[in-house]
Structures are given as C-alpha cells and as structure tokens.
Symmetry: C2
Subunit: 299 residues, 2 copies
C-alpha cells in the first residue's frame, strides 16, 4: 500500500491555448505544475517531454502519464490512428500523434482521453462527483464540451460524445440570431457558447447587467442540455464549469431543466440542491482529470 | 467449460400487454418459451413463477433469471425500492416489486433491467451488435424506447435513459400537429410513435401509401434521434425495431441523421451501410436480451 501511495504520475491538460503539465500522486495531490503556451505540435510536445524528463530527475521515475486533450481524438485501440488528434480546425494540429510521440519520447504508458472526459473522471475520483458511479461534466467557454462517466468509465463509443452540438429549441426571445457554430449555425454551442453571447450582447456574460435578457436565454439553453443529459445519460450529477458559466445560473438552469422534463422522470434527486453544481476541483479539474487518467481504471 | 455451457437460465420479457418466459443457455439458445397475457401483478408474476418451477422440473435447476421489463424501473442497488417498477401509468403495476417477488418465490438470483437495455445487451452478445463494445437499441411502437450499452454494460445512471422523450425540431410540414405525449406533447415520442402516426394519418405506417408525407416526417424525426444518439453516446451501431418501424425507413433515417450532423463528427462508420440497422435477433430480441441479463456481466 505504502509503495502504491508513493508512486508519482504525470498529467497533461492539453488545451488549444495552453498546456498544463503536472506531477501528482494517487491521492490527487500535485507536487509540481507548469503552464506553457500551445505552439505547434513539435515544439509543444517537445516542451512537454522535457518537463517530464526534468521532473523525473527531481521527483523520481513516473509510473504513467495521462493526457486530457482538446479533440476530436481517435480513442479506438484497434485504429491505426489511435491516440491522434484527428480533424481539429486548430492550425497545425490536425492528425497529431499525441499518445505515440509522448510515449516514444518518455517510454511511459500514456492514457489519453478528451479534456471533458478526463475532468469528469477527476471529479468522480476527487471532486464533486466523489462516491458516485455516473457524472456529466460540462464546460461552457469558447465551445461547449460534455464528458460523461458511467460505472466509473468515460463514454467513448465510436468516437466520443459531442453534446455541445445538440439541437435545442429556440427561445422565443432569440428567434433572429443565426448562431455562431460553423457547422450547425444554431446548435447549442452556436447559441450558448462564449462567442455566441458576445455576438449578441457585445460583452461577456460576466459583464452582463442583471436584467439583461441573455441570462434567461443561457438558463434555457443550458437547461435544455441538462434535460437532454437526463434523458440520454441519466447522470447522478451534472457539473458545469468554464469561462462562460456564472454562479447565479445554476439554480436557473436547474429550473429550466425541470420545465423541459415536465415531471416525466420521477427522481427526487433532479430537484435537489446540487444536482447541477460547479466542479469541485475548480481550475484544477482539467489537470487533475489528466492525473486520474494516468492512474488507470477505477474499482 | 462443458459444465458452464450446459447451465440453464431463465428469461422474462415483461411487457405491458404480454410476458414472454423462456429457458435458455449461455449460447443464446432457447430450449423452451411461452407467452402469457399481462394481467395484474400478483396473477402475472404467479404465472411466471409457476412456469419456471415447472421448467426446472423438466429441464433441471436454473442458475439465474433475467428480466427485461417495461418501466420506469428502480435500478439503484442502494435504494429501498431497488428492483421495483416505479411510476408507470399502467393500472395496478405502480410500485411493483418485480425482482423481490420473483426472487423470493424461486430462490434464484434475479437480474433486472429495462426491456430496451436488455435488448441492447442481447444484440451485443448474439445479434447485430456482436463484437462491438457499444450499441444503441431503439424500439418504435406504442412508445419510443432507447437502450444503450457501453463497454459491454447497460447505461443506468440515476434512473435509466428515456431518449424517447427528447425534444426534436419540428419538420416544416408538421407544424400544426400537437403531438400525443401526455407529458410533453411534441417530444419525439409525441411526434413519431405509433399513436402519433395514427393520430395524423388515421392508419399505421405499414398501411401508409409510398407517397404519404408521413414517411418523410418519420425519417426526419428518427434521424434527429440518431443524430442526438451520435452526439450524446457515439454508439458503434444503432439498431431500430418495433411495430412502427419499416424496412424502407433505415436508409432515409441515416440520410437525415447525416443531414443534422452536417459532417461535424468525422467517422466514416456513420456513412457505412448498416450503421443504422434492424435488430439481428428479430422478434426474439426482448427475450434473448433478458437471457443475456441472466448470464451477468460480459467480459
């Protein structure tokens, strides 16, 4: 037991604008952490590998590495491009062999998943999903991402969920806005992401006046997402974070979720305070999620 | 191995109008099968238990029993009403202790899940999902039910998925129909179930003329369900059956799914023939799904 508890693992939160690399243990404690700007893949992944080489010299050999990354990712073990970032619009990063390049350089087992799946796993292990078997993690920012865990394992399937792009019904007060999603126009992300808020109000949600109708729109659209999550995944808790989520929205989103469900799903938990909540790991949800990936399967 | 292969299991497909009881083995072969009309819970479950007592006398002791049932069901092991049918509108069946009453009477381990989750598991083990890790099973009939399996296990979460009630966008040619769902009016089930088809056309889909606009509506609404399944669960295959599904719809539903996804999810499999297909176990999908439950977890 002591031996396991002392093992150290590497964690990478791979984002479109920054990478966070850290070293941590099975208890979710981070012993070191650095941030670096996302450049081209070769430079960035070179920086990542150099960080972990230095870290191993300082703290001792690492057991494994977890990467929670922006996507879409190929997570099919049998695929020739397993572990790659695939069709991302991010310049230079299309078809990047994330897992393979880090594994070859460091010689460690590397466990990859989407940033949101990783965060959902981290929340289940150490955060606001502790003790639960299923949780959904939603981030509302430049895009809208959703990660889901069932029976302690992240959902992949053919690719991985992309619930930011579900089609919600238009709020009557929002009929004329075309939406900002380059693929779908007015899908959820096109109506409720950070850029969609700015496109209509010329300011971020944080700066919106309390009486601004944008609050009602956000509550309704995110409430529809939560209703769809309950109908499609029935998670035991829904955690929502990200730069375009604000504390005063949680109760409103839950009220709109209940409005859309119309008492069809008979579970008192849906009405309980905290069914829709903020991530417990705060700004560390991403990197601790990656650490959780490094530890391997739960149970 | 021979010992395991010779073991026999009980299977119950518990439906609102009929119950199918069967005895089968690990290979999915049924050695006996009976159908009975659904009456009140005491009479019906009494019939079920008598059948299995007789079957055990004929074929030898059974190892375990699986029940795939109409719902909603309480599938939380820690709940005081675990194994119950909960808030069903079916007269007399509300709060019926399905698992407990059968277990107490027969003294066998009883494994319960929703009819659609059971069918999804059966398809994965012996049918059109064979060899896959994830599959969605959709039935379109009096209602619309969806079961989902990931990593070889059915999705439950807080309750279990109820994707028949997601909110789809209205087809422009269907703007005036109120929908038939008593809870939501025009959710998917309210627009695309058997009763919704009859309410608009005064006939079943089977009897609709090839040029009837109902085909286009059904294809669009079921296509939206499939798009939502891809975005929320990313299943490796979607199987659609039920009395209100027709063979000529599969290709149209897939085309509408792709229309709604607009190339956002980059996976060739979505375009492949057979991504949306009929259940491989046909009319036995339900009872073989229940048999699959009796066998316990896969892998």
């Amino acid at each position: 037991m002591t031996d396991d508890a002392q093992r150290l693992y590497g964690a990478v939160e791979a984002g479109g604008t920054k990478f966070i690399c850290a070293v941590g243990d099975r208890g979710g404690r981070l012993v070191d952490e650095v941030r670096m700007n996302t450049r081209d893949p070769v430079s960035t992944l070179g920086d990542v590998c150099r960080y972990f080489e230095t870290a191993a010299a300082r703290f001792g050999a690492l057991t494994a590495l977890g990467i929670g990354a922006f996507g879409p990712l190929d997570l099919q073990p049998a695929s020739p491009t397993f572990g790659f970032i695939t069709s991302t619009p991010k310049p230079g990063w299309r078809h990047t062999d994330l897992t393979g390049s880090v594994h070859r350089s460091l010689g460690l087992p590397v466990h990859l998943d989407t940033d949101v799946n990783a965060a959902a796993l981290g929340e289940l292990r150490w955060g606001a999903g502790f003790g639960l078997g299923s949780v959904a993690y939603v981030t509302v920012g430049t895009g809208i991402g959703v990660g889901v865990v069932h029976h302690g394992r992240a959902v992949h399937g053919l690719v991985h969920p992309e619930m930011g792009h579900i089609f919600v019904r238009r709020h009557p007060a929002d009929a004329s806005f075309a939406g900002t999603c380059p693929y779908h126009g007015d899908c959820l992300e096109g109506l409720a992401s950070g850029p969609a808020i700015v496109a209509r109000t010329k300011r971020t949600l944080e700066d919106a006046a309390p009486a601004d109708p944008i609050w009602e729109l956000q509550a309704d659209y995110l409430g529809q997402l939560c209703a769809c999550l309950v109908l499609s995944h029935s998670p035991q808790r829904i955690l929502i974070g990200g730069g375009a989520m604000q504390r005063r929205l949680y109760a409103k989103v839950q009220a709109r979720m209940l409005h859309w469900l119309r008492d069809y799903v008979a579970a008192e938990e849906l009405r309980a305070a905290g069914y829709i909540a903020a991530p417990g790991l705060g700004a560390s949800a991403g990197v601790k999620g990656a650490l959780s990936l490094a530890l391997g399967a739960m149970d």
